[in-house]
């Protein structure tokens, strides 16, 4: 999809807002449709993926055994090996599913005409809602996958790079003009992630949406300055409480 016509097009997401191109570049599926399986295998497969996520959330990915997954899913060991090569393969598939949903949320928040801050707000709101609705997958994707090493870590990292590119769009229209470090989007993303992970670990995953105003502040302040970031944060709070009703 991305017609790499101009020489600077790989870095041109900021200008073109080509989110489809960005997903393709990271080899990420844009939504769940890309992952459809034959009907029967689909349900057994999904049960295994859910069991994988659940076990990783409960006892950690490292301590999870294939026996744990099969027992929880009510699926035989033989079937497991028909669907997956090994535990890592199953974990990777579960991560792919989570990431597809997350990218779906981001694509939904995207619109070429929307101001950057509104896009950040809507993508964050959608992302928090998604995590809140799937606590075990949230835990797997943000706590176990980053620590797992290997292919699942790569998936996590590429998802993060997509979010980072979305944030870097802020550099296009900064209100304050001073030089800021190039790591600023990575830092802001880590700040938001840390807050989310803390909330998940303290068992309040279902109330993740409460973090929206704080995350809007931290992700916009380096680009927009404090006054405007506080204003965006208050807007987000209004948005959130309206959505809650």
């Amino acid at each position: 999809m991305p017609s790499a016509s101009s020489p600077d097009s790989s870095a041109s997401f900021a200008r073109t807002k080509d989110i489809g191109g960005l997903l393709e570049q990271e080899q990420l599926p844009a939504g769940r449709d890309a992952l459809l399986e034959p009907p029967v295998a689909h349900s057994q497969r999904e049960r295994l993926l859910v069991a994988m996520a659940q076990s990783a959330a409960d006892k950690g990915y490292g301590a999870t055994t294939i026996a744990d997954i099969c027992t929880a899913a009510g699926v035989s060991r033989a079937t497991f090996y028909e669907l997956f090569k090994d535990k890592e393969d199953c974990f990777h598939a579960a991560m792919e599913l989570s990431l597809a949903d997350a990218m779906g949320v981001i694509v939904a928040a995207y619109s070429p005409d929307k101001p950057w801050a509104a896009m950040v707000r809507d993508a964050t709101a959608g992302f928090l809602e998604l995590l809140a609705s799937r606590p075990t997958f949230a835990r797997m994707a943000l706590i176990e996958a980053p620590a797992s090493g290997g292919r699942s870590f790569q998936l996590y990292a590429s998802g993060k790079r997509v979010l980072q590119s979305l944030l870097e769009r802020g550099r296009d229209d900064p209100v304050e003009e001073e030089a800021i470090p190039s790591s600023v989007s990575r830092a802001a993303l880590s700040a938001a992630e840390s807050l989310i992970v803390g909330q998940i670990l303290s068992g309040n995953t279902t109330r993740l949406s409460e973090l929206l105003p704080d995350i809007v502040y931290i992700t916009t302040v380096p680009y927009l300055g404090q006054e405007e970031a506080l204003r965006q944060s208050r807007e987000a709070e209004k948005h959130r409480t309206v959505a809650d009703r």
Binding site: G62, E176, P181, A187, A191, V221, Y223, L230
Partner: protein, 198 residues
Amino acid sequence: MVARSQRERLLSAALDVVAEKGYGPTTVADLTREAGISRTTFYEMFEDKEACFLAAYDSAVDVLVRRISAAFEAEDGWPARVRAGLEALLASLAADPPLARLALVDVGSAGPAAQRRYRAGLQRVTPFFDEGRDFAPDGRRLPANVSRMAIGAVIGLVTDEIEAGRADRLPDLLPEVLFAALVPYLGPAAAAAETGEE
């Protein structure tokens, strides 16, 4: 006396072995061999490998937080205090890359209890950041979780550097890390001014 020194030997052995082998493959036998203690003595002190590792982890965090605290308290004015605290953090981690990796990266793969200790460790530096609220002109209007987020930003940058195999060069990261710590409290212009000094 003897029990105490055996315990200390064991804790330091646990950090060394896990830093080298990773948490998963490490066995109680590895720990007793490295510490030069018997299996019986091990089980008198700790229930299992995990309990031992968690105690070792806490002791390492203690040392780190004490160093940061000493550097922070030695300065006047919040931005200078944060700069000194971050310098101490980066220098301590750079001095022992395997331990840095263990403390910030591998701890995540050691199970839920270890992950909670890691979070608890992060929270111990919250007071250093909370001072920023009093110092910042707009302090009272800042979001409730601003300190947690600032800590998350700092640790995120540091962790990325360790994961990229550059733990020994962490001190070079000071300007970026300082900017990330200050910007939520002071805004980009003032944070950049503080970062550019010296």
